[in-house]
């Protein structure tokens, strides 16, 4: 509305790239639902201390393995029931969101930043540097991701920081390859050459001129990588190599609840469900981002 009233003529002010992107993005209903769910989870994670009904570590010894509130024998005090040592599952899930999202964010940021730098250097300078970096990436890619992560954690010792580091390293080659490929397509375009003629140095060319034009696939990969990171972190947690008890992490919650699969379904189901939903939300949003950012898919 403000746009048209400003110009008041028949000429419409062209959309900014972000407005254009947004109009494509909201056409994709799945992506929008994914985004809403992610915003919801982020809200829970940020305000976990106020939202969660109990402290995640607090053990209610009188209420061990209480079923969810609506089930038979449920207690209104514990909506999603309690686990084997009497901790409120809902509170642990909410606090776990904090940990899981933080881990996802850190892993993705570390591998994204490192991957962009390495990929830019490889694509920009070429030659020996390129070969060295890309062969290193190939070596990392040639090993199964989780196996490599387990090996690294086994060397560094099981902790949440070490498993984060390991996963960052595992995801690194994807970003390196993606960045390098984009750089190679951009570097010979005329606008890069004209910046060169204007006297731009290597750093300026890499980060200010070329990088913004390579970002679209990286954003998509990072979003999808987020869900992978959460999933693999949960797997490491499940194997006892990630978050150590009593930290409320979704993967390790699943792992400790293994023994109750037959007797108390809610202890396993809810952490599993929330992992599923979060990963699904990120994947939906990633797909939507890809569609909105890829000019070839636009009409």
């Amino acid at each position: 509305m403000t746009m048209t009233s400003e110009t008041q003529t028949t000429v419409r002010v062209p959309q900014t790239p972000f407005a254009e992107f947004w109009s494509y993005f909201i056409q994709n209903r799945g992506a929008l639902i994914g985004l809403c769910f992610i915003v919801f989870i982020v809200f829970l994670a940020v305000f976990a201390d106020f939202v969660a009904p109990h402290h995640p570590h607090e053990q209610f010894r009188d209420f061990i393995l209480v079923p969810p509130a609506w089930a038979e024998g449920g207690n209104a005090q514990f909506w999603l029931g309690t686990d084997g040592v009497g901790r409120d599952i809902l509170s642990r899930l909410i606090h776990g969101a904090r940990l899981s999202l933080l881990i996802g964010l850190v892993i993705v940021s570390v591998s994204l930043v490192l991957g962009i730098c390495l990929g830019l250097v490889a694509g920009f300078f070429g030659g020996f540097v390129d070969v060295a970096i890309m062969r290193f990436a190939d070596i990392l890619l040639s090993m199964p991701a989780l196996l490599l992560a387990i090996a690294i954690v086994a060397i560094l010792g099981p902790s949440i920081v070490n498993s984060g580091l390991a996963l960052s390293l595992v995801y690194l080659p994807h970003y390196v390859r993606l960045t390098r490929a984009s750089v190679l397509t951009e570097i010979n375009k005329d606008y890069v050459i004209s910046s060169r003629v204007a006297g731009a140095g290597a750093l300026r060319l890499m980060f200010i001129v070329i990088l913004p034009n390579c970002l679209a696939p990286l954003i998509v990969q990072a979003t999808l990588g987020f869900s992978n990171a959460i999933l693999d972190m949960a797997a490491l947690g499940f194997l006892g190599l990630g978050a150590q008890p009593p930290l409320p992490e979704w993967g390790s919650m699943l792992a400790t609840a293994r023994e109750f699969i037959q007797s108390a379904w809610w202890v396993v189901t809810f952490p599993g469900l929330i992992i599923l939903m979060t990963v699904l939300a990120f994947n939906l949003m990633g797909d939507g981002l890809r569609d909105a950012l890829d000019p070839k898919l636009k009409q």
Partner: protein, 345 residues
């Protein structure tokens, strides 16, 4: 070192206007791998090109695809450095200067690219595209930079409100205007235009050409205008240089070249342009064959395989560019031996 050329220059100004930019024996050879166990080949994209550009004048470089026009443009703007030769700008050889001076002088030579859709960074606003050269080189404040950018936008016929828009919001002609404005931001003396209008509509071509000519007069710019469109060249150029397979075959004033082409190749090239005036029309000359591969150029005159006047000498010896009458020169044995039927002297 720095004083000598200056005095030389000033003594020359009294006689004739010195060229602002010149090249002597410019060569650009690219080694090409031809496969395992084979010796690498050498592509002679440019093979000994001499040229001069006078301040405020336009030198057009014409020739068919693959003759080295664009390589020449890349050398002039120092996107690539030549294998051999001299590149003089305001009396100094750019190739032997130290880095600082070279960087300083390089700002005075700018380039306009063929495709305005690829030459503007799609993620930057017009304002920051225009100001980029100033940010890199200049010591101007933000406000001064913006003032200059707005000033040039107006000069190339765009409006101040275009300052905050992205390149994809403009048409091809407008984009080329932006590219021209960017080229002018550093107050260049020489602008290398690599087929600046061939990607545009014919109606827009004229606008952009007229803009370039207006700017030339106003700012005393020298253009090196690379094109394969001869009607455009005739319109804008003062001097024309015809290239064939990395060599200059004919050089002269635009009028001479267009009314009395001497080299058989120039004639063939001109005959391919439609002309309204029947007096200057040349019967269509059909060249047989393709431009030979620069990887394996023919012996002697590179054109002999496609030239109807070629004789045995042309196949063996290589003609050099010879001064004919004052300003124009041509590299052809046929003219030396006076055996070309269309030249009546």
């Amino acid at each position: 070192m720095s004083e000598q050329p200056m005095t030389q220059q000033s003594s020359e100004t009294t006689a004739a206007k010195p060229p602002i930019m010149s090249g002597v024996g410019l060569k650009q050879h690219y080694p090409v791998k031809q496969g395992f166990m084979k010796p690498p080949g050498l592509v002679k994209a440019l093979d000994g090109v001499n040229f001069t550009v006078e301040a405020g004048k336009t030198l057009a470089v014409v020739g068919e695809s693959g003759c080295g026009k664009s390589t020449l443009a890349r050398l002039l703007t120092m996107i690539e450095l030549p294998t051999d030769g001299e590149l003089n700008f305001e009396g100094k050889n750019l190739l032997t200067l130290d880095r600082e001076t070279r960087k300083e002088l390089r700002q005075r030579i700018q380039i306009i690219f063929q495709n305005p859709y690829g030459s503007l960074n799609p993620r930057k606003k017009v304002g920051s595209i225009l100001e980029e050269p100033l940010v890199i080189n200049g010591k101007l404040t933000k406000a001064e930079r913006k003032e200059r950018a707005l000033n040039l936008l107006q000069k190339v016929g765009l409006k101040p409100e275009h300052y905050d828009r992205y390149p994809h919001m403009f048409s091809g002609g407008q984009r080329q205007r932006i590219a021209i404005a960017r080229g002018l931001m550093m107050n260049p003396k020489v602008v290398v235009a690599d087929e600046p209008v061939s990607a545009l509509d014919v109606s827009v071509q004229a606008q952009v050409l007229n803009l370039m000519m207006d700017l030339q007069q106003e700012l005393d710019l020298a253009y090196v205008f690379i094109s394969h469109d001869l009607s455009v060249v005739e319109h804008i150029a003062d001097k024309v240089m015809v290239m064939y397979l990395g060599k200059v075959v004919e050089y002269g004033a635009t009028e001479d070249i267009f009314t009395h082409p001497q080299h058989p190749y120039t004639r063939a090239l001109l005959s391919s342009t439609p002309r309204i005036d029947p007096e200057h029309r040349i019967d269509k000359i059909r060249l047989t064959g393709e431009l030979p591969s620069p990887l394996n150029p023919p012996s002697g005159c590179a054109f002999h395989g496609r030239c109807e006047f070629a004789n045995e000498r042309c196949k063996v010896e290589t003609p050099v560019l010879k001064d004919q009458s004052g300003e124009s020169s041509v590299a052809c044995f046929g003219i030396d031996e006076n055996r070309l039927p269309y030249i009546n002297r």
